[in-house]
Symmetry: C2
Subunit: 196 residues, 2 copies
DNA sequence: TGTACATCAGTGAACGCGCGTTCACTGATGTAC
DNA sequence: TGTACATCAGTGAACGCGCGTTCACTGATGTAC
């Protein structure tokens, strides 16, 4: 029908979403302009509105996509009973701290998401619920945590991880930043019972 | 010497800093323009540069001021041995969740501070260190926590509080938001040993 | 086989607007002589 | 006592720029007949 394959446009859309995920996590929501986002995939600003109805539409889509990626990543990581402590160490690594663009959307954007409109916050909530469900299930299955308290425990670990990375990025002293990461790991691990 | 009292200008400066603290926590750093910040204290944009050398200068000053306020607030709150759990409940209250402008700067701005320049991050680090010192000292004195681990423990409580409030604001479902606050309180309290 | 038209992803200029910052100016008060 | 000048916090218009969004247009391909 046209010179483009059937999935050409949707592939471009996916490229925009992926690149915008990195850009938003690096520069923030308010800090990323539409023209820049399109330049990241070698397109011009005008083409943006053939793919999204507004910047807000893109942001909500990106948050949904980023959270889905995070769910998949966690599900894959928690494949064996000793996996959670390893995941915690990776999350609280210097590599993650120094590369927000490739990292967790919550650590990079949570307070900006909190200031966003209903679509963005809806997408975030759906994602975070799935993450907490996965972690809670793992805590029950692999660590013998009472299912009634597993969700609470998952949330404790989640909040420690997110704010620890935020804090390690915000602080201007490299030694303190590393201390923060180490302390965060100790605290997160203290919420994980030894394997049983 | 002039029609103004000696402290007139510095009082205006303080008014700007206080109003900007509320505005930044409500709308974010990138979301708050200089003209709006000045309008908040019934002045025009031009007068801004008689008080600050740049917007960045103001933001660093505001972060310093906000963190000093937070330190004072915590020092005052932790006056007796049973004070910390009460502070946790207040921090994780619906009132705090629903009023970012009057609340904790970390909960409102931490990831935007992490993206800021050295001046802002320096001001933040100085403040957060004092907060952690105060909380760690209280944990040792009032809860018998080993001084070697008190700082770690303080950081665990701090990160749970900050990210829990961020999360409760980001989520679009009121029931889940309240569950998050409750779970955050349970987790934070679990890091505080019973009084001894 | 040739020509007219349809499809479609993307271009790039333009819209009005708000951004951070600069600067000539205002107007009220004080001092000098 | 009157006048010229200094001080000072603040005004408000203007600077160039980037924002989100719109839209007439391009150019390559396909279909119709």
């Amino acid at each position: 029908m046209a010179r483009y394959p059937d999935d050409y446009k949707i592939r471009t859309r996916r490229r925009i979403i992926a690149a915008a995920g990195r850009r938003l996590k690096r520069d923030g929501i308010d800090g990323s302009g539409v023209a820049t986002l399109m330049k990241d995939v070698d397109l011009t600003n005008g083409a943006f509105y053939a793919h999204f109805s507004s910047k807000n539409d893109l942001v909500a889509t990106v948050v949904e996509d980023q959270m889905a990626t995070q769910v998949a990543l966690i599900e894959e990581a928690l494949d064996d009973p000793s996996a959670l402590p390893r995941f915690v160490d990776g999350y609280l690594s210097i590599a993650h701290r120094d590369d927000p663009a490739a990292g967790c959307p919550s650590a990079a954007l949570l307070d900006e998401i909190a200031r966003s409109g209903p679509e963005v916050r809806h997408a975030y909530r759906a994602g975070v619920q799935r993450i907490l469900d996965v972690v809670a299930a793992h805590l029950s299955a692999a660590h013998g945590v009472d299912p009634d308290t597993a969700w609470n425990r998952a949330l404790g670990i989640y909040t420690i991880l997110v704010a620890t990375v935020q804090l390690s990025r915000a602080v201007d002293d490299p030694d303190i930043s590393e201390d923060v990461l180490r302390a965060g790991a100790a605290n997160a691990l203290s919420l994980i019972p030894a394997n049983s």
